[in-house]
């Protein structure tokens, strides 16, 4: 049995970027999880901000739901800029 709680760790590597999942740490509480994440995932100055979330609190899509969950977006090509063909004179838009 795990003694401490598993926390997932997200690090913002630079100002202006999104937090990105980097891995996990074990800790007795969230404060300790933040510190353990700092020690482990930012030893080389890799972060400006850290989030930790108890792993059990994350709700994720099932791995093989891809078809039902994501494919319907696939044919909505009009959501992408490249769908709209413009004359070369204004194509930098």
């Amino acid at each position: 049995m795990a003694e401490w709680t598993l926390f997932e760790v997200f690090v913002r590597s630079k100002h202006g970027l999104n937090h990105k999942h980097v891995g996990s740490v074990h800790a007795a509480d969230a404060t300790m999880a933040l510190e353990n994440a700092r020690e482990l995932y930012t030893r080389r100055n890799e972060g400006v901000s850290i989030w930790v979330v108890p792993a059990a609190q994350i709700t994720a899509t099932a791995g093989d739901e891809k078809d039902a969950f994501f494919d319907p977006a696939e044919d909505k090509v009009y959501r992408h800029a490249s769908f709209y063909k413009l004359p070369p004179e204004v194509d930098q838009m």
Binding site: W4, V25, A27, A28, M32, E35, N36, E39, L40, R43
Partner: protein
């Protein structure tokens, strides 16, 4: 040796000896996460020791470099705080020791970052960031152990009691420190601030605050140590002493 050099060696030796005690934890920490964390603290202290040694070596100007100051001086020449050389003990001893030191270190570096000696001010400002984090971490562990289980509380209470007698070195100053404080170079006495902060955390951790420790004949700052330091140095200095002509 002038007052400033002595003062720098005290700072360097204390960092060095504490880092050496943290090295002894390698592979033995109570959790893998703590393994990483303790080595981060050790690396910080070792880095700071090197900076103070470098400066002391320049002032001494007798051909010795930082390594020679760290690895070729004996226990009567070492000027670390007695607290630092206390054996690593269990995790409660290390936690209480780091905490007492961290509170002192943080106050000292805060003042030194305003030193009229620019070199000291610069190094202290850099070290202060590290020390602030150390203080935060050890304070949290004081609360965890103090309020955690009956066993952790008992172990921490024992540790505090055992270490307390060395704390007069953190609250009292001697002529060297007073002289440098008057010149605007040294940190001077941080005893009041140290006592206030330590008392607050001890109370929060559910521990008794002991009576102020009384000065006795041991005096780490001037090279009068416990018997423990000799063994620590014997191990730490083994290679440079056994192979005096070697280059590593």
């Amino acid at each position: 040796m002038n007052a400033l050099t002595q003062y720098l060696l005290r700072l360097a030796d204390t960092d060095m000896v504490l880092a050496q005690r943290l090295c002894e934890w390698c592979g033995k920490a109570p959790a893998l996460e703590e393994e990483v964390a303790m080595m981060n603290v050790g690396l910080d202290l070792l880095g700071q020791a090197r900076n103070w040694y470098d400066y002391a070596a320049e002032l001494l100007d007798d051909g010795r470099d930082a390594d020679q100051l760290a690895f070729r001086r004996n226990e009567r020449e070492y000027r670390n705080l007695l607290l630092a050389e206390y054996p690593r003990g269990d995790y409660a001893v290390t936690t209480a020791k780091q905490f007492f030191f961290d509170v002192w270190h943080h106050r000292v570096l805060t003042r030194l970052s305003g030193s009229s000696d620019e070199r000291i001010a610069g190094l202290a400002a850099k070290g202060l960031k590290e020390a602030s984090y150390h203080r935060r971490r050890s304070t949290e562990w004081m609360l965890r152990l103090g309020q955690g289980t009956e066993e952790s509380h008992r172990r921490l209470a024992d540790a505090v009691q055992n270490l307390w007698r060395f704390t007069y070195e953190l609250t009292d100053t001697d002529a060297v420190e007073d002289e440098l404080a008057e010149a605007g170079i040294g940190a001077g006495n941080v005893g009041d601030a140290w006592r206030a902060e330590v008392s607050r955390v001890l109370e929060q951790a559910g521990l008794d605050v002991p009576e102020p420790a009384r000065h006795f004949y041991l005096d780490g700052k001037n090279g009068k140590h416990t018997e423990q330091l000799g063994f620590l140095l014997a191990e730490m200095q083994y290679l440079p002493r056994a192979y005096p002509d070697a280059t590593w």
